[in-house]
C-alpha cells in the first residue's frame, strides 16, 4: 500500500502541507475562502527544530495501537488504511493516549478526534499535503 513517507532533509518548514491538508478537508473548493482568517487544525503537523524540520501524519501502522485501543470501534483498518468513523467517536481520547507518533488529535469540536485518512474521503483523491509540498519532503509511495 502507498503511504506517506518523510524526507526530513528536504523539509523547509514552510507548513504548506498543513494548509493543503486543512483545505482538502474543509469541504470547500476555494483555498482562500476555506482558510482566510481560519485557525487551521490540520491532520499533518510540522515539527520545527534548529536545524531540521519534518511533517508528521498517521503512519497507517500494520499493527495499529489506535485501532486496538479504540473503545468504540470508530477506528478500523482495512487494506492497510486506518479509517475513522466520526459518527461512532465519543472523544474519549484513548487513541491519543495510544498513538506512538502523536498523529491523532482533537478535531476542534472537543467531542471527537481526527486523523489523516490519506485524502480518501475528500475530493482530493490522493494526499493533498504531498501534492502541495514544494520540495518533495513528503512523498506518497510504496516502500
Amino acid at each position: 500500500m502507498k503511504r506517506i513517507y518523510v524526507n526530513e532533509k528536504w523539509c523547509l518548514g514552510c507548513h504548506l502541507c498543513e494548509y493543503y491538508c486543512a483545505f482538502a478537508n474543509s469541504g470547500k473548493d476555494d483555498m482562500a475562502k476555506a482558510l482566510k482568517g481560519v485557525k487551521i487544525n490540520p491532520r499533518i503537523r510540522v515539527e520545527e527544530g534548529e536545524k531540521i524540520n519534518f511533517a508528521v501524519s498517521c503512519r497507517h501502522c500494520e499493527e495499529p495501537l489506535c485501532v486496538k485501543s479504540c473503545i468504540t470501534g470508530a477506528l478500523t483498518i482495512k487494506d492497510g488504511l486506518i479509517s475513522f468513523n466520526k459518527d461512532k467517536c465519543v472523544g474519549c481520547y484513548t487513541c491519543i493516549m495510544s498513538c506512538p507518533y502523536g498523529c491523532i488529535m482533537p478535531d476542534g469540536s472537543g467531542h471527537a478526534v481526527q486523523k489523516c485518512e490519506l485524502c480518501t474521503k475528500n475530493a482530493c483523491g490522493e494526499p493533498a499535503c504531498v501534492k502541495g509540498c514544494p520540495n518533495q519532503a513528503i512523498v506518497f509511495e510504496e516502500r
Binding site: 481520547y93 493516549m97 507518533y101 467531542h111 516502500r143
Partner: protein, 410 residues
C-alpha cells in the same frame, strides 16, 4: 479444524475472534455470553446516558461482525462449569458444549461491600453493563437526588452521564481524593474543582455509616438525602470458573505472555486476568479495554495456530469529565518532572533511565509519544529528554530512529 469456545462477549472476546481469524479461517468459533446484547462497548454506557452515543452506535463491532467472522453466538447463556478433562463447558440450562481450545473472558463484576442499611435503599444500582445503565436511566428524573458511592473512573463517568438529567449529585469516597487509582493529589484537586463547578458535591475521606431509604449518614456525621443510590466502589475479577478447577489464580487469573492459563488449552484475557505491568515490574489487574483487546487478540492468534506474545502491558487511562481531559499511564515512581499552568497539569515520572509514568490533565495532545516511551522502555539517554519533557515530540529522537519511524513502513 478445531473448535474454539469463548466465554464472554466483550473486548477480549472480539480481540480473540479477530486474532483467530487473522491466522485461521477454518476453525469453528462459539461465543457464549450471559448478556442478551450484540457486542457493545462497556465504557460507553455513560456516554449513552449523556446522549453522545446510542444503542446502535455503541456496538463495538458492526451487526455483521459474527457472520463476517463465521462465529456462532449463544446469548443469554451462563456457563456454570468447565470440565478440562472432557474438554467441555456446562451451561446453566444443562447444555454441554465441547471445545478444543477455550478462552475465558468473563470480565469482572461490581464489588458491593457490606454497608449498613444498604438493603433499605429501594433504588440502588451498579454501573458496569448496558442493563445497569438502562435500569438506572428509567429512574432518572430532573428532580432526582443521586448519591454515588465511589469517586473512581466508573463512579465519575456515571456522574458525567447523568449530570444534566437529575437534580443533584453527591459523591462519597473513602480515599482522600477523586480518581485515586489514576491521579495524584494535586491533579485530583484540579479535576475535582472543575467537576464541583457543575454542582457536584464531594465527601472525601468519608464513607457511609448507615443507609436508610432516602438518606445516608456518613462516618463524618454528614447526612446526604438521596432518591437514587449508585454503588461504584470497585470491581472483582470473575475467576470462579477457573479457580474451581484448580487454575493458578492470584487476585485474578494468571496467564503467561501468550495468554495461556495454567490449564492446557485454556486461555484467559481481559478484566478477569492479571497482567504483568512492565512499568512497575509487578502483576496487576489492568481492567482496561485496550488491554482486554490486546490480550484477547494474543490469545486468539495462539489458539488459531499462530505465534504472538503480549509483553508490554501497562496501566493507562484516557478520561474526560465535562470536556476536561486527562490521560495517565504507567506507575508513579521515581523522579518527577512537574509543569502546571492554570488548567494544564503534567507530571512525568522517570527512574533508572526510563520514563515509567505520567499524568497529563488539560492539554493532552500527543500524549501517546510518552506512552510509547514507557511501553518500549526507551532509554532516556538515547533521546533528548529535556526537549521531550516540555512537549511530546519526535524531534527528541535521533535522526536514525526518526528515519526508521517516518521513512519506513511499519
Amino acid at each position: 479444524m478445531s473448535k474454539i469456545v469463548i466465554i464472554g462477549n466483550s473486548a477480549a472476546a472480539v480481540g480473540c475472534i479477530e486474532g483467530i481469524r487473522s491466522v485461521d479461517k477454518a476453525s469453528e468459533i462459539v461465543v457464549i455470553s450471559d448478556e442478551q446484547h450484540h457486542v457493545y462497548s462497556r465504557p460507553l454506557i455513560s456516554y449513552l446516558l449523556l446522549g453522545s452515543t446510542d444503542r446502535q452506535r455503541m456496538k463495538y463491532r458492526p451487526d455483521s461482525f459474527y457472520a463476517d467472522n463465521m462465529t456462532d453466538v449463544m446469548l443469554g447463556k451462563t456457563v456454570v462449569a468447565i470440565d478440562p478433562k472432557a474438554k467441555n463447558v456446562k451451561l446453566k440450562t444443562g447444555e454441554v458444549i465441547s471445545y478444543d481450545k477455550l478462552l475465558v473472558a468473563t470480565g469482572s463484576s461490581p464489588f458491593i461491600p457490606p454497608m449498613k442499611g444498604l438493603d433499605k435503599a429501594k433504588k440502588c444500582f451498579t454501573f458496569m453493563k448496558l442493563d445497569d445503565a438502562l435500569a438506572l436511566e428509567k429512574e432518572l428524573t430532573p428532580k432526582s437526588r443521586v448519591l454515588v458511592i465511589g469517586a473512581g473512573l466508573i463512579g465519575l463517568k456515571c456522574v458525567e452521564g447523568i449530570a444534566d438529567r437529575v437534580g443533584s449529585i453527591s459523591v462519597v469516597d473513602m480515599a482522600d481524593r477523586i480518581l485515586p487509582s489514576v491521579l495524584d493529589k494535586d491533579g485530583a484537586q484540579l479535576v475535582q474543582s472543575f467537576i464541583e463547578k457543575r454542582g457536584v458535591k464531594f465527601y472525601l475521606n468519608d464513607s457511609t455509616a448507615e443507609i436508610s431509604e432516602n438518606k445516608a449518614v456518613l462516618k463524618s456525621g454528614a447526612e446526604v438525602d438521596f432518591d437514587i443510590l449508585v454503588v461504584a466502589v470497585g470491581v472483582r475479577p470473575n475467576i470462579s470458573l477457573l479457580k474451581d478447577i484448580g487454575a493458578d489464580c492470584g487476585r485474578a487469573i494468571k496467564v503467561n505472555e501468550k495468554c495461556q492459563t495454567s490449564i492446557e488449552d485454556i486461555y484467559a484475557a481481559g478484566d478477569c486476568t492479571e497482567s504483568y505491568d512492565i512499568s512497575a515490574d509487578t502483576n496487576r489487574v489492568l481492567a482496561l479495554l485496550p488491554n482486554a483487546y490486546m490480550q484477547g487478540e494474543t490469545a486468539g492468534v495462539n489458539m488459531g495456530g499462530g505465534e504472538k506474545v503480549y509483553d508490554n502491558a501497562i496501566p493507562m487511562n484516557a478520561m474526560g469529565m465535562f470536556g476536561y481531559h486527562m490521560i495517565t499511564a504507567g506507575s508513579y515512581d521515581g523522579d518527577v518532572y512537574t509543569e502546571t499552568d492554570g488548567m494544564n497539569y503534567k507530571k512525568l515520572f522517570y527512574k533508572d533511565n526510563r520514563l515509567v509514568g505520567y499524568i497529563i490533565i488539560g492539554d493532552v495532545e500527543r500524549a501517546g509519544i510518552y506512552t510509547s516511551l514507557i511501553r518500549q522502555r526507551t532509554p532516556l539517554n538515547e533521546i533528548d529528554f529535556e526537549l521531550i519533557k516540555s512537549k511530546p515530540q519526535l524531534m527528541a529522537f535521533s535522526a536514525q530512529r526518526r528515519a526508521k519511524e517516518l521513512a519506513q513502513r511499519h
